[in-house]
Symmetry: C2
Subunit: 221 residues, 2 copies
């Protein structure tokens, strides 16, 4: 399916109130739908809610999308695709496990911020339908790949060995995922600042950098 | 209101199917209700769902609780009360800001694990009714107190100054709150192990402890 902004085959024109007609691409329409899913919950939102929010007639809406399941699949595919690509790139890049882990943390955080509504929806999927269960299974597979990265960094002695790597993985990516609870584009913290903060806190914790640096400089003098 | 297990005034007897009647204390009934709220969402759950889940007749249920609002208030009061008590105790204990912060992280994590369903419900409150808006306001006040602890540890140079303290606060307590997504009592990680892991990751990050310790021992030899 085309999502080219100018592609007439994927455009839909909505007449909302007395204002100018809104023109959607498939992508714009999907983003709007994902917003409704996140607001009312996937289970709670009806096709009628979705067509009403878009300003399209129900038949025009059905012309574009067969139903909620198709919309959910498209939305979570987008999130899962972006997250998988980060991990594929990280692993293909090679290097020390701890550096791959740090890259995965950065990349995952970047995807979350850039694809916020899609990842938010993915994280809220609960598994009541086939599409949801499939999304959950794919999410679990990604979590397992992230946990394997933590495990191999621990096995190589590159990160602390006193905490179960599975627990580390849950906590670190729990911190990343918690961004969906408060991050809004245009807020006081920029995306870049957030990615840096997450990576630094994960790797160094709250440790005072100035103190760390002082150690090698003051010793031996 | 009494929640003494043996207090006849707070007990309710439910006849479910052909089994033995279930006897609830107010506390037991509240826990069951919170489970239904967490499963269906506060907005989605009706008083009928709640009485059905308890096995009580609707009139017996209303004899105990006036409505959903009262139940939500009792549930979030319990979570907010426990979280406030942790902060009060931490601040009353005095000491360095960074130690108070670590105590607050440990105490908050302990409360979350011990009061899992209540804190889960609190974290999902969205603000559609007065009771929800009041809960949100109290939650924001707690978040502000935690952020102030991070700020004063940063002001005293006890934690890193290269990340905005507000961002640190959001990320650290986002990590803590993310436990509600996966922690289930009786799982592989014990509560104590999780509290320790959260505190260590927050303070030291992924840093290899063995390497840290090696520095003072190998230098100067």
């Amino acid at each position: 399916m085309s999502t080219e902004p100018g592609d007439p085959a994927s455009d839909a024109v909505a007449h909302v109130g007395r204002g100018r007609p809104a023109r959607y691409t498939h992508e714009g329409l999907l983003e709007l739908v994902v917003g409704v899913f996140n607001e009312r919950g996937y289970d709670g939102a009806t096709m009628e809610d979705l067509s009403r929010a878009s300003g399209l007639t129900k038949s025009a809406f059905y012309h574009h999308f067969s139903g909620k399941e198709q919309l959910l699949r498209m939305a979570v595919d987008r999130a899962l695709g972006a997250l998988s690509a980060v991990l594929d790139g990280t692993v293909a890049g090679g290097g020390r496990a701890v550096d791959q882990l740090e890259n995965a943390i950065r990349g995952t955080t970047e995807v979350l911020l850039a694809e916020l509504p899609y990842v938010t929806l993915l994280l809220r999927v609960r598994g009541n339908t086939d599409v949801e269960r499939e999304a959950l299974a794919r999410r679990r597979a990604l979590d397992a790949r992230l946990a394997a990265l933590v495990q191999s960094a621990a096995d190589s002695g590159q990160i602390r060995a006193d905490i179960d790597p599975r627990l580390i993985s849950r906590l670190l990516f729990g911190m990343v995922n918690s961004l969906t609870e408060w991050y809004r584009p245009g807020g006081t913290a920029s995306r870049r600042e957030i990615v840096e903060a997450v990576a630094q806190l994960a790797v160094d914790g709250l440790t005072t950098r100035a103190t760390d640096r002082r150690v090698p400089f003051t010793r031996g003098e």
